[in-house]
């Protein structure tokens, strides 16, 4: 189950962060997402570690915490997407697929002429779309 997704801007400022849990753990998830930026930075700054693919946007598993797995995705404009999930075995293909959809939704949201680049994404459509993507996550693997 995905517990949190986030879009983080170039200046590492949160553009969109949404948790999908009932529990009141927003602060914790914020911290986790915030921390994972360190790992993103590390991967970006040490490209030799990040693997053979030069233009790979998918950053893979950023770091496993006690209960969560954090995946990252970096767009060409240095916008980061972070996914926090409680599933312990997640197929990379699923995650890639998720990020691809998420990225598309993000691109649509920021293409809105009323969106101010670098500001938080407040679009309801975007939120709805993201929650749909989140809901459908992992369905592909089971079905």
């Amino acid at each position: 189950m995905i517990v949190c997704v986030a879009v983080v801007g170039q200046q590492n400022n949160p553009l969109y962060i949404q948790s999908f849990t009932e529990a009141d753990d927003a602060l914790k998830l914020h911290h986790i997402v915030h921390c994972s930026l360190d790992v993103v930075d590390e991967r970006v700054n040490n490209p030799k570690k990040s693997g053979p693919m030069l233009n790979e946007t998918f950053l893979g598993l950023l770091y496993p915490t006690e209960n969560y797995k954090v995946y990252g995705f970096l767009t060409n404009t240095k916008v980061k997407f972070i996914l926090v999930t409680t599933d312990l075995d997640v197929r990379d293909a699923d995650v890639r697929n998720f990020f691809r959809k998420f990225h598309a939704a993000y691109v649509d949201a920021v293409s809105n002429p009323f969106h101010v680049p670098g500001k938080k994404i407040t679009s309801k459509t975007f939120a709805e779309r993201v929650s749909n993507i989140v809901k459908s996550f992992g369905m592909g693997s089971t079905g």
Partner: protein
């Protein structure tokens, strides 16, 4: 690579893994030592560390080496057991608490920037008490039976010389069952090296006895193993040892001074010597010997191929053994234990190669035996040995990880060991700059125990900071985690410390949720410690948290208020963010010579006022001689730029307050902060400027001394006589923005500076905000400042002495009105001051709406004076269009004192929609000694005009008579609820006579909402018929009015010529037409109506409401200069069998021009083609004349039938190509017409068949005679034209 021994771990290992000496002593020994405040062990401790012992060591190999560093650990026999966990916990807590107390000092210091602190090495960065804590933590797992390095190597038996039978005591000491369990239960060899020490107290003065006992001992235990130690040589105990060797071992500094106070330098030397001797001559050789023996044993049993096979086979057989957590029990003489002891002894003597080979040997065995704890212990030691050898790094790490996980696997027994192992592992990684891995290890150690995990997490956080490049976010996260753990075990001070350092990461980032939480926690903790200033500082950061949920905002605010209340004083905060001051909404309204009657007047653009006042205010050239002179005299150059205001008159400042939260907040005591300086010297101004500059720096957050003074002065002298301030109080609901008007009223002359605003939040927090922040914005908002003034100038006012000021007010000004409604209003002007004003003038922006009446005397009904004959117009007449809106009050109207001036005004809602009516009143001051000679009062009222009745007129010629015009009036009621009663219709002017076409059979001309009504009138121009005498007569008759309403038949008609209606009509004419002198034949209509009310009681009231509609410039004539009427019979009976029918017609032509015309009448016989072409032509020319008139009911029917007939007829006829009738006589007749004259032309027509004929197949060509004395220039209109014939229907019937 740094030498492993010099790393933190290396140092730690050389200190921790050292031979243990078990100490057995009698109580008298302890007593002797306690004189110095020391226990026996403590007395020895400082001297048990050797940096340069320089002892040759030869272990298994034949190659000796020299040992430099050495350390002995002394423990009482009673302490050699597994430490009590509870006690250990308490000890740990004590360490932390003490460390926390020490750290308090730097709470208030500024936050060190983490990024700056990167250059500091680890030892500086992380607190020193980590070492102590880690040591204590590691100690909890000591004296375990699976490790041999904690097992005593030697035993020191100490007996005091005061003891009775000391020799027996020695024996007793070792034989009692007080011995530690390890020795008794066979874990280690009970035959340890024994050393005997006799302690003698020199204060007892019995050295002889001591030496006697020593010799006795020597004879009993052997001479080399017995020693004598004499202490307490000093009698007075006042030795102040400069560098007390014990002080560093004791945490309590106050006691440290008395430590060892009875020990002389000789005593200390003696102790030193004793331990050196013990180490070098006994312990180390003993260990060497043991290593050699054990090595030999191990080699014989385990080394070599045969032994290994045997061992493997033997182990295999034990596989069925139960899988107990501790594995099988190994006694000291088992080969496994011996190998372990061998390895540990070798490790302690720094022979790491030997140690490693033994550890490897045994590790395999333990694994096969499933003795997991022992296996883990060996793995741990292997890892450390690898590290000390600086061999394979991977091996070392692997071993440590293996050990760690194996300890965890063992369960509760391995818990403490796993922690120690983890600590070593982390140190090992740190020593190799693998900080990230170390951090993860620290994270793994953090167990359920909050205190321990807090420290571990904090250590992990430092690891992230030390990384290259540092991971600040992880650092922050781990510090927050650690802070939370600290809080759980009530270590608030530590929690604050960690959070504070974490804050440096989150500060300035946009991760507001995290940042707010950090600030909030810090605030709470500081408050719990009673450090309210720091707490408030943090709470302030989170007050304006828009992004948080409502509940959180409430919590934050509540806590903050509570906090402030706890401090017991009102808090003063610069730049308080609650509420937010919207500087963009800041507006300053002040009155110099321009004064405003109402806020609405302030909102009107300055340019509009200026255009209104243009011709009222004295011209600059005339004013220059004295006005500017005065100004230069009174105002220094500098002040000319500043705004002027008058003492006693309020300066209003509109300030926008925005509540960023979702919860309501209450604001009170809102007032401006002002500074007043009495003198107007330029030096003072400079000072002011500098003050302003200071203020702007204050706005940045530093509380300036001067300003606090200023504020305190403000508060101190509430009744400060130089100015008074207004106070406002309001509450803002969530997200609301409110614009509040604050005023400051200067009392005395001088210079007034508006500095900022202050307010009180929830009754306990005072916020200040300076206006000096963003000036580029508010200059745009303040339209009334002409020049670009410097920011400080904008808020600076030159206060001049009190001047008279007119106050104006219009009573009962309606906000809504129906279109056309007339209102009577009263303008009241007041002058509160004692100085009179004169030369008053008034100008109105919309004279179409407002007319100035006469001086108001008493109340009278609004419409009453409109009734004909009652109206008496005042002497003020409208002279010209330009001056229409300018009204000069009579010379004698001087206002002063209590007596107000009342003046009546008439309002007519002339145009639909919203409109702002502006009035400005100019007045001059009698007192000319001031800067201002005149002032202007600006008034503005907003009016919304609703649609009432829409009236339109259609005018057409009467086809029968030339002098008459038919008028169709269409009235539509556009209101939703109001019904109107039409009272009268008047044609303005004397030359018109208006009569109703139909008799009035509609009983009441009331128009209900949505209803439309048409009325027909006949309008006759009587001008030409009348002589001058007749005119006078007719004037009395007033035939130009038609009364339409029948209600109360006695109602009089309203006069539209000389009453007020005429004035409005004049305005309407001006606005509706291009010029006043329109066409002489244009007619203006005035429709007067009233709201309809059936109840007669309200007759009078309703009577006072009156509506007028003015429709001007309704043209009566066509553009063509000629009018004509065809006259002839309509129906003719003729017997066509006899002959064709000849009909005589008569055409009357009228020339309405002032010039002579010649008219040609061209007739032509109609053909099928010509009908269409002519008809299209005719519509083109005479369209204006005929529009909309065809729907006259009678004509309509006829035409329709005729069309049908005509078309049928044409169809019948056209194939035959015979025209239905022909004109007889000449086809062209010419007539000359004089100016305004009429001529008659006879025409004849011949018919051949019965039918209905449209006799319109003729044209009138007119030609202007230019030959007259009129110059051609005056004739702007065309000099010739063509008019097509108008339809004239003739029915010819077959007579029988």
């Amino acid at each position: 690579m740094v030498d492993p021994a010099n790393t933190a771990l290396g140092k730690m290992l050389t200190e921790e893994i050292t031979p243990v000496v078990m100490v057995l002593r009698t109580s008298l020994v302890e007593e002797t030592c306690q004189k110095n405040g020391l226990s026996f062990i403590k007395m020895l401790t400082p001297f048990s560390v050797f940096d340069n012992i320089d002892v040759p060591v030869r272990t298994a190999s034949d190659q000796p080496y020299r040992l430099q560093k050495f350390k002995l650990r002394f423990f009482y026999a009673s302490d050699i057991q597994k430490p009590n966990l509870q006690a250990a916990k308490e000890r740990l807590e004590k360490v932390i608490t003490e460390a926390g107390e020490k750290d308090t000092s730097d709470y208030c210091s500024e936050l060190a920037n983490v990024e700056k602190g990167l250059t500091i090495s680890e030892s500086e960065l992380s607190p020193s008490w980590f070492q102590v804590f880690n040591k204590e933590l590691a100690f909890t797992s000591s004296f375990s039976d699976h490790e041999a390095f904690d097992h005593p190597v030697a035993c020191l038996l100490v007996v005091s010389s005061k003891d009775e039978e000391p020799v027996n005591k020695f024996v007793d000491l070792f034989n009692t069952n007080q011995l530690p369990s390890i020795l008794s239960d066979g874990v280690m060899d009970p035959k340890v090296l024994k050393q005997y020490l006799l302690l003698h107290d020199n204060q007892d003065e019995m050295p002889d006895k001591a030496s006697k006992i020593l010799s006795e001992m020597k004879s009993t235990f052997g001479s080399s193993d017995c020693r004598l130690l004499c202490i307490n040589s000093l009698q007075d105990g006042l030795l102040e040892n400069e560098n007390n060797p014990w002080s560093s071992y004791n945490l309590d500094a106050s006691l440290a001074q008395h430590l060892g106070c009875f020990l002389s330098v000789d005593d200390i030397d003696e102790i030193k010597l004793l331990i050196q001797d013990l180490s070098a001559k006994h312990i180390i050789p003993h260990m060497e010997q043991k290593i050699r023996i054990l090595n030999q044993q191990v080699s014989s049993t385990r080394k070599g191929f045969r032994n290994q096979i045997k061992n493997l086979w033997w182990r295999k057989g034990k596989e069925d053994a139960p899988d107990t957590p501790n594995g099988p029990v190994y006694t000291y003489n088992s080969i496994e234990s011996q190998i372990r002891v061998l390895g540990d002894y070798a490790f302690m003597l720094r022979d790491y190669e030997l140690a490693l080979s033994n550890y490897r040997l045994i590790s395999m065995d333990y694994k096969l035996d499933k003795a997991w704890k022992r296996y883990a212990g060996v793995q741990e030691m292997m890892g450390l040995t690898y590290f000390m050898l600086d061999h394979s790094r991977k091996e070392a790490e692997y071993c440590m990880e293996n050990a760690f996980s194996t300890y965890l696997k063992v369960g509760a027994h391995g818990q403490q060991n796993s922690i120690r192992c983890g600590l070593w592992w982390a140190e090992l990684l740190k020593a190799r700059d693998q900080y990230k891995e170390a951090a993860i290890v620290y994270f793994r150690i953090s167990s359920e125990d909050p205190l321990q995990s807090a420290v571990m997490l904090e250590q992990a956080s430092y690891c992230y900071l030390l990384m290259e490049p540092p991971m600040f976010r992880k650092y922050g996260f781990h510090r927050v985690l650690s802070g939370d753990s600290y809080e759980k075990c009530d270590q608030v001070k530590h929690a604050i410390r960690t959070y504070r350092s974490a804050l440096s990461v989150f500060k300035g980032s946009s991760w507001s949720l995290i940042r707010d939480h950090t600030h909030f926690q810090l605030g709470k903790w500081f408050a719990s410690l009673g450090m309210f200033d720091a707490a408030i500082k943090h709470m302030l950061e989170i007050l304006a948290c828009e992004h948080q949920s409502k509940a959180v905002q409430e919590l934050f605010l509540q806590d903050f208020i509570l906090l402030v209340q706890k401090t017991g004083k009102t808090l003063e905060v610069w730049g308080l963010q609650l509420p937010i001051i919207k500087l963009s909404l800041l507006r300053v309204i002040f009155e110099d010579h321009r004064t405003y009657a109402s806020p609405a007047a302030v909102g009107i653009r300055e340019s509009l006022w200026r255009s209104l006042e243009e011709d009222m205010i004295p011209l600059l050239s005339t004013a220059k001689s004295n006005w500017l002179e005065l100004q230069t005299k009174l105002v220094s150059k500098k002040h000319k730029e500043s705004n002027i205001c008058v003492a006693g008159e309020a300066i209003k400042v509109d300030i926008g307050f925005k509540n960023p939260l979702q919860i309501p907040i209450s604001i009170s005591n809102v007032s401006l902060i002002c500074k007043h300086s009495a003198s107007s010297d330029s030096t003072e101004v400079d000072e002011l400027n500098s003050a302003a500059n200071e203020l702007s720096s204050v706005a940045d957050g530093q509380i300036d001394e001067d300003l606090t003074k200023l504020i305190s002065r403000d508060e101190g002298n509430a009744e400060n006589y130089s100015f008074t301030l207004s106070e406002a109080e309001f509450s803002l609901s969530g997200g609301e923005t409110l614009v509040v008007q604050l005023t400051v009223t200067p009392r005395v002359e001088g210079i007034l500076n508006i500095v900022g605003v202050k307010w009180k939040l929830s009754g306990c927090v005072v916020g200040f905000q300076s206006f000096k922040i963003d000036h580029t914005k508010n200059t745009a908002a303040k339209g009334r400042i002409k020049h670009k003034l410097s920011p400080s100038d904008e808020m600076r006012f030159l206060v001049v002495k009190s001047l008279p000021r007119l106050e104006g007010f219009i009573h009962h000004f309606p906000t809504k009105s129906y279109h056309g409604e007339l209102h009577r209003l009263v303008l009241e002007l007041k002058n509160q001051s004692n100085f009179p004003v004169k030369n008053m003038k008034m100008k109105i922006s919309h004279p179409r709406f407002l007319l100035v009446g006469d001086r108001e005397v008493k109340n009278s009904e609004s419409a009453a004076c409109l009734i004909r004959g009652k109206s008496e117009r005042s002497g003020v007449s409208v002279s010209s269009e330009e001056a229409a809106s300018l009204f000069n009050f009579p010379e004698d109207s001087v206002i002063h004192g209590e007596e107000p001036l009342l003046w009546s005004l008439w309002l007519r809602a002339a145009v639909l929609g919203s409109i702002s009516l502006c009035m400005t009143i100019y007045y001059e001051l009698e007192d000319i000694s001031t800067i201002m000679r005149y002032r202007i009062l600006r008034m503005c009222y907003n009016l919304e005009v609703l649609p009432s009745i829409v009236v339109s007129f259609k005018i057409s010629h009467c086809p029968l008579r030339l002098q008459e015009v038919l008028v169709c009036m269409n009235v539509v009621n556009k209101t939703s609820s109001e019904s109107f009663q039409i009272h009268q219709l008047s044609a303005v002017g004397n030359q018109w006579e208006l009569t109703m076409l139909q008799s009035m059979d509609i009983p009441l001309h009331s128009v209900t909402p949505g209803q439309s009504l048409s009325c027909f009138f006949k309008l006759e121009n009587v001008r030409e018929r009348l002589t001058s005498e007749d005119k006078v007569v007719l004037d009395g008759i007033r035939r130009s009015h038609v009364r339409l309403g029948t209600q109360g038949g006695k109602q009089e008609l309203f006069d539209t010529i000389s009453s007020l209606v005429a004035d409005f009509h004049h305005q309407e004419r001006f606005h509706q037409g291009m010029s006043d002198q329109g066409h002489p034949d244009a007619v203006d209509f005035v429709l007067i109506f009233q709201p309809h009310n059936k109840s007669q009681d309200q007759h009078l009231l309703e009577y006072s409401r009156l509506f007028t509609h003015h429709v001007c410039h309704c043209s009566v004539v066509s553009r063509s200069p000629i009018d004509w009427v065809m006259d002839g019979p309509q129906i003719i009976h003729h017997d066509f069998t006899m002959s064709f029918c000849k009909i005589n017609l008569r055409m009357t032509i009228h020339n309405s021009l002032d010039a002579a015309l010649s008219v040609h009448i061209n007739t032509y016989d109609k053909t099928a083609s010509s009908i269409t072409s002519q008809s299209s032509d005719s519509t083109g020319i005479t369209s204006e004349n005929k529009t909309g008139w065809h729907d006259l009911s009678l004509a309509n029917d006829v035409k329709q039938s005729s069309d049908i007939l005509g078309s049928q007829f044409a169809k019948q006829v056209s194939p035959e190509s015979v025209s239905p009738f022909i004109w007889s006589g000449s086809s062209s007749t010419s007539v000359d017409l004089g100016p305004l004259s009429t001529a008659e032309v006879p025409l004849q027509i011949c018919m051949f068949a019965p039918g209905v004929y449209d006799i319109s197949s003729y044209q009138l060509n007119w030609n202007l005679h230019v030959s007259n004395n009129q110059s051609p220039g005056t004739l702007s209109e065309q000099s010739l034209g063509t008019c097509a014939g108008s339809p004239f229907y003739l029915t010819v019937l077959q007579s029988t």
